[in-house]
Symmetry: C2
Subunit: 149 residues, 2 copies
Amino acid sequence: MQDNEKRTEDIDAVYNQMEVISRRAVARTRRMSAPLSFVEHSLLVFIDTTPGCRATDIAADLQLNRSTISRQLTTLTDLGLVEYTSGNDAGRRRALRLTERGRQLRERSVEAQRGVVTSRLEEWSVEEIASFAAALARFNAGPEEPDRV
Amino acid sequence: MQDNEKRTEDIDAVYNQMEVISRRAVARTRRMSAPLSFVEHSLLVFIDTTPGCRATDIAADLQLNRSTISRQLTTLTDLGLVEYTSGNDAGRRRALRLTERGRQLRERSVEAQRGVVTSRLEEWSVEEIASFAAALARFNAGPEEPDRV
DNA sequence: TGGTTATGTTGCATAGTGCAACAATTTCTC
DNA sequence: GAGAAATTGTTGCACTATGCAACATAACCA
């Protein structure tokens, strides 16, 4: 088999496996994120993993309309899970963070979901896991498509 | 560093990278799947990748209620993208497949999304890609949580 | 400082969702 | 094969999520 054919075939395989990964992750989140909805959970994740982020950052990254983010943020602040770092609600470009309650909820969610990854990697050696982590990081370091706001 | 610490740290890293992968995939799908909605697209993907699947299979895998799947399938069959292999609409446990139109739409979507993966792997060697594909397949071969219907 | 751009909110209309109830198809047991 | 039990897909209902458009104004920039 030519290298180009092998390359294309394995790129296909990577793509297909990525499809499986994200499909399962979405389903798992649906299953595990109650009482939060899928998108509420997604906002918590993004805010937790992107220090100093703002509403338009979320909208761009999740590819949702700003109005959706505005409303979801209202829900999450009302629930006491998210707050503005400026301590007040006025103004624009306000940076967001999780509240203590938000962090606890997030940590419990991370534990539950990470448990799935942990059991998946049970039979892997330390070297294999390290290599896999490095490859994933390398893959994710690549650029994503231009944002739409 | 102890092997156990290293192991835990790299499992964390795998988990975090998986989170990024699925977040980006969801956003990309939202961006690229028009005129289909996110969930319509998800159904097409599942039907395409799971030959002979049925409504309850979809509901279980995507973790959506059976009524949601029923309604989404009505939409997709009305749009002429999905059909029943039995050729008639009556009965239960009917296997689903994409129509020719559905397959064309799916193929175009695959091409667009696979393009992102391809450019991400541009600087990778053939061996690195093959190794990555194998690791992903190995990871995904692990069991997912029990289903909920 | 004044003009321009970016930002978050709100109204509106539409789409998505789960629960419950149901009918009937299918499976299972004897 | 008959009848019971389980499974399956649909529908009504009420609620939730979403994007577009319009808007006010905060923030930026020359």
